[in-house]
């Protein structure tokens, strides 16, 4: 029995590639109506409104209930949802959306341009993580009639960027339900009301969320009767429930690596990265500059040099991951600048030399420094990576204490209270660096906005490059600006992104019309159905 994880990973990848298509070939053609689709919900969020929090943990639920202006089609091109068409003036400062008619909210009120205006100005621009940066130069949304919304920008907004951002950052919330009071405190944030194919029924915290088919959906009723999200924090238990038929779908690499490899060999399941291309991610190592030692670039460089990333990937993550080279992953063909930017290959001697130069010298017992590391609780790879960081830094005299939290606690400690020295989680790359990547580097993020620059670090030059790139209408110049951004960001190293991965989906082979868009887990599932 010399069965290594690596061997398992390799076979699984090969199988995953083969399994998907045969099922397509024999697929029934008429969708079956009815059925309950049960989804693994691994990490609960403090709220579920996608206009206020951009996160796959929110979209996986509310993406069925609320809808964005634009989504991506199978080929990854923008396709209208609540917007029917759009156009931009040549200077890029005015973008007009024609909105879909005869769409109603689940409470029966009509959807109009006032909802778009309210959501854009009060939520995307003021509260939504990533949105606050994306819409930094949005000055107004004009509504000449109920079905036209005109976005006015102070600096040019590339239409391509906006259309790639809106599938995630373009969810609309009903104005009439949010007009009064703080939008962040609205109780509907945990009981979302939308225009989507499913309407919210119940949220039992720690147990489940239920949504039922909305018969008045503008595209026609969905195939499924009901979707149930079951809160299961124990990944092994989730795998056992998949096998028992109690769960149909575990999104976003929610199972353990060894269980995904095992289920990939089981004909009842499909294990694949398909349908997640729009959610490439990198593993991060985030530094808190309020900690004096970490504000020294040499200490951060030393930490990066002390960690043998290729060894970690080869032995722990296998084919599901590859070496990362910076904030823009290699899957982004439009923006990837290549690996010719500052990198930090494993070099223990150099790490020790850098620490000595920084004056961080060994004290009692050879310990130079003690740091608290907060790993995000989603994904087994984060937990393994946290342990690997702990082990690697121990070798150069940096003692790491791992502090574990639940999802909400992690986001609060790191991004609101800044009570961490090191943190690690996922950065998600969403088709364009300006959507959810540059916010990790741009200064001026409000405290509490998750997955943004909360490091206590600011670099005016990098801020300027980010702003220029986000407002550059010429694609060639934009690409060059992002190459410059990656070079500077890797050199300054406010956080480190040394691993890139694509999420893995585990889904029952009975599901049809699944994984058919690049952000399928987040999409509305109006055409999803379950075969007998």
């Amino acid at each position: 029995m010399n069965f290594t994880r690596r061997a398992a990973l390799m076979t699984s990848a090969a199988i995953a590639a083969n399994v998907v298509d045969p099922f397509r070939a024999f697929a029934q053609t008429t969708p079956r109506k009815g059925g309950v689709f049960v989804v693994h919900y691994g990490a609960e969020q403090r709220q579920l409104n996608p206009s206020i929090q951009a996160s796959t943990g929110v979209y996986i639920v509310s993406g069925k209930i609320q809808e964005p202006l634009v989504d991506l089609d199978a080929a990854g091109n923008p396709v209208g949802v609540l917007a029917e068409s759009w156009e931009s003036t040549p200077d890029g400062k005015t973008i007009t959306f024609k909105l879909r008619r005869n769409v109603t909210w689940h409470d029966g009120k009509p959807f109009t341009s006032a909802d778009v205006q309210f959501t854009a100005m009060e939520m995307w621009k003021k509260v939504l993580n990533y949105g606050t940066t994306l819409q930094l130069f949005l000055t107004a949304v004009d509504t000449p009639d109920a079905h036209t919304a005109i976005f006015r920008y102070e600096r040019p907004m590339p239409l391509n960027l906006l259309l790639r951002a809106l599938p995630d950052l373009g969810y609309i919330t009903a104005k009439h339900l949010y007009e009064t009071g703080d939008v962040r405190q609205n109780p509907l944030n945990l009981a979302p009301v939308g225009t989507g194919p499913f309407k919210f029924v119940q949220y039992e915290r720690g147990q489940h969320i239920i949504a039922d088919r909305h018969d008045g959906y503008w595209k026609g009723p969905a195939n499924l009767d009901r979707i149930v999200w079951r809160v299961i924090t124990d990944r092994s238990a989730a795998a056992a429930q998949m096998e028992a038929g109690q769960l149909h779908y575990s999104p976003f690499s929610g199972l353990t690596i060894s269980d995904m490899a095992r289920l990939a060999k089981d004909r009842r399941f499909i294990v694949s990265t398909k349908g997640n291309e729009g959610n490439a991610r990198t593993n991060t190592l985030e530094f808190n500059f309020r900690r004096r030692e970490l504000a020294d670039i040499k200490v951060r460089q030393a930490i990066a040099h002390a960690i043998n990333v290729p060894f970690f990937i080869e032995n722990f993550l296998g084919d599901f991951a590859k070496l990362g080279t910076g904030p823009i992953p290699s899957v982004s063909t439009d923006f990837y600048p290549g690996a010719n930017t500052p990198q930090y290959p494993y070099d223990k001697a150099k790490a020790i030399r850098l620490l000595d130069e920084a004056g961080v010298r060994p004290g009692a017992g050879g310990t130079r420094l003690t740091l608290r590391l907060l790993p995000a609780p989603w994904g087994e790879d984060i937990s393994l990576w946290a342990t690997f960081i702990q082990q690697s830094l121990g070798e150069v005299g940096i003692r790491v204490e791992v502090v574990r939290n639940d999802g909400g606690g992690f986001l609060k400690s790191v991004y609101a209270d800044h009570a961490f020295d090191l943190a690690t989680g996922w950065h998600q790359y969403r088709n364009d660096p300006a959507v959810s990547t540059t916010v990790w580097y741009r200064s001026g993020q409000p405290a509490g906005a998750p997955w943004t620059n909360q490091w206590g670090w600011k670099d005016d030059v990098i801020d300027k490059v980010i702003d220029d790139a986000a407002t550059e209408v010429d694609p060639v110049k934009r690409k060059a600006l992002y190459a410059e951004f990656v070079t500077k960001a890797n050199a300054a190293l406010p956080l480190w992104m040394p691993i890139e991965q694509i999420f893995v989906t585990t889904i029952t082979a009975r599901a049809r019309n699944h994984s058919n868009t690049p952000r399928w887990g987040s999409s509305s599932w109006h055409d999803l159905w379950l075969a007998e």
């Binding site: 010399n2 994880r5 398992a8 990944r235 060894s258 032995n315 082990q391």
Partner: protein, 276 residues
């Protein structure tokens, strides 16, 4: 001497003592046999036991040597068992002694408090304490001690109730001994044997409580404990079951050892069982 001879009359007690000595020897030799940090990366993750001579018990899913973690884990288990038991027994003795000696309203108040603790399932109380104070190994040990004191308290109280009116106590009183001297100098030594026996139960339960916490990933992840290894092994339980099974066996044997020693002590110290 009589007690020692009585103890060694029972084969189970001898096995228990032997196992306990083995665990203590493991704890003592850990630093010498495995000079490296047991949580450090040792090699490839998930090497099966007996396949690589460098890792006789294999490696876990973080590439750590399981054998090293078992040896260092013995230290943590003994530390938890020992310190938590001392805390629990100390609190228990003080409360039980005062309560049993004075009786009356003092007894009433203290016993109602003890009952309040007893009505709460101790694992739930432990989870609350850990949630509030954090999962550092020191807080874990103290919390385990705090949730384990009611039973020793009741036991001590019962002993005191039966001893407080004996002649030697009356004699001490007529000689003018202070309460404190009477409680801790005269009565306590006579009440101690059953409490010592019960301490072995507390110790075994303490080790299990820490393992249960670690299984839920609520124990201190920065120490090599058997419970942590089981909790970590949960992710690979279906295929690489040995990651959880090996520390599981270690816990089983240690708890068994402590229980057998406790049983042996009970047989040896209990005068009513003499001569059997």
């Amino acid at each position: 001497m009589e007690v020692v001879r009585a103890y060694f009359r029972s084969p189970a007690a001898i096995v228990g003592l032997f196992l306990l000595l083995v665990v203590i020897a493991m704890a003592a030799s850990a630093g010498w046999l495995f000079p490296r940090d047991p949580l450090a990366l040792a090699g490839r993750p998930l090497v099966w036991p007996f396949t690589n001579p460098r890792f006789p018990l294999g490696t876990d899913n973080s590439g750590r040597d399981i054998a090293a973690q078992i040896f260092y884990g013995a230290r943590i288990s003994l530390l938890i068992g020992g310190v938590a038991t001392v805390i629990a027994v100390f609190i228990g003795i003080v409360i039980g002694a005062v309560s049993g000696y004075y009786g009356g309203w003092v007894d009433n108040v203290l016993m109602r408090i003890t009952e309040a603790f007893q009505t709460l399932p101790n694992f739930l109380l432990l989870l609350v304490l850990i949630a509030v104070f954090g999962s550092n190994i020191n807080t874990v040990i103290i919390a385990i001690g705090i949730v384990s004191w009611p039973a020793p308290a009741r036991l001590t109280r019962a002993e005191f109730l039966s001893l407080r009116n004996r002649e030697f106590v009356q004699a001490g009183r007529t000689l003018g001994l202070k309460d404190l001297k009477l409680i801790f100098g005269e009565i306590l030594p006579n009440a101690l044997p059953p409490v010592i026996v019960y301490a072995s139960v507390v110790m075994a339960v303490s080790i299990l409580l820490e393992s249960a916490l670690a299984f839920l990933r609520l124990s201190d992840p920065n120490v090599a404990s058997w419970g942590n290894l089981i909790g970590l092994g949960r992710d690979v339980l279906r295929v690489q079951w040995y990651v959880s099974a090996i520390p599981g066996i270690a816990i089983l044997l240690t708890v068994l050892a402590v229980s057998l020693v406790g049983q042996g002590l009970n047989d040896a110290l209990n005068p009513r069982l003499k001569g059997r």
